[in-house]
Symmetry: C2
Subunit: 186 residues, 2 copies
DNA sequence: TTCGAACCGATAGTCAACTATTAGATCGTA
DNA sequence: TACGATCTAATAGTTGACTATCGGTTCGAA
């Protein structure tokens, strides 16, 4: 799925399919059919399957777009930040909020954690620097590494999905768990 | 599905179905068919659907049995414990370990978090007492409640599934996150 | 021991995911 | 602009989850 090596009409098909999939997957309980996606995209069903071999990969395509639009900006902010605990917490809250909002889509995703971790992986270098700054300032545990951040965020995204608590309750659990990343003072 | 009000032959059917389902779901990648389950159970496919209206509810039945066998004993130990942080950690590790081992089964479960929380709910009273003891001893945060424990365990079960880390790595993340439940000393 | 309710297997059918094929349209390079 | 590679729609078929029905069997209470 490398856009640069694809023919222009194929790229257009993929775009229309992703747009339609987003609409279909998000509406209702996430059980929209792929036939409907193809129909709404104005594309044959075979074309859909050519670009996305199964339902999961299509959902992953939609999720990635969403991620780029809604998480990436926060990510850059964190990478440029000073390593404060609050910055990490804000990013985690964002990830959990988006995951929850997109539950219907995620139901078709299969592996939320793996997909999320995959999307975060390119930012490990940035996390590395972030964590180093936080440790220098004494706001993050010394044994934390940059590679831990994608893992922890993926875990929190998965964990956030199971909560039936409201916004405040979710925030509370997030605080409780992420407090463990602070240095132990005792 | 109340065993006490069911006819003896129906109970026997359910038992054989659950046994077969455990075998079929656990083997391979969790894509075993319900036809195969019925066949291995020596039961008609209609009988299977009569007792378990869909794949998820069958998986939930298997999961509950597993839970009763492998988690419940740890649970009783915690409820009788003195509220130490280590006891809670041991229970969490157990939950994560079992969840991971049963990944193939859980793939058919649909809602791991909800199901887990549901199974833990009857123990809230015990957790309540446990947490109170821990708080009196100064090993658990004062704002923690008994109702938090099932939620946190369900979150950790979901979170544990996304990790590609080994046993030691998983243990490490669990420690990091659960340290947040200790009182803040600073 | 009887008899109705509960349970059973078999079967036929629907629906959606997914596979495979093919003839024709379109892109982009030479 | 010509032409081959890429992309396309249409279509037919397979598989498995799930529903509905029905005549026959078995349980267990009276």
């Amino acid at each position: 799925m490398d856009v640069r090596t694809m023919r222009a009409d194929a790229v257009a098909s993929v775009t229309r399919i992703l747009d339609a999939a987003r609409r279909v997957f998000q509406s209702g309980d996430g059980t929209g059919t792929l036939d409907k996606v193809a129909q709404e995209a104005g594309v044959g069903i075979a074309t859909l399957y050519r670009h996305f071999p199964n339902r999961q990969s299509l959902a992953a395509g939609v999720y990635q777009r969403l991620f780029d639009q809604e998480i990436e900006p926060y990510l850059l902010q964190v990478e440029a930040g000073d390593g404060s605990h609050a910055e990490l917490l804000a990013l985690a809250e964002r990830v959990v909020t988006v995951s929850r909002r997109e539950r219907a889509l995620i139901a078709s995703l299969g592996d939320l954690g793996g997909t999320t971790a995959e999307l975060l992986r390119p930012h490990i270098a940035g996390f590395e620097a972030f964590v180093a700054r936080g440790q220098a300032a004494g706001t993050l545990r010394p044994e934390l590494t940059g590679a831990d951040v994608p893992q922890l965020l993926a875990m929190l995204a998965a964990a956030g999905l199971v909560l039936d608590a409201d916004e405040a309750g979710r925030r509370r659990y997030l605080h409780l768990l992420l407090d463990g990343l602070r240095p132990q003072l005792g």
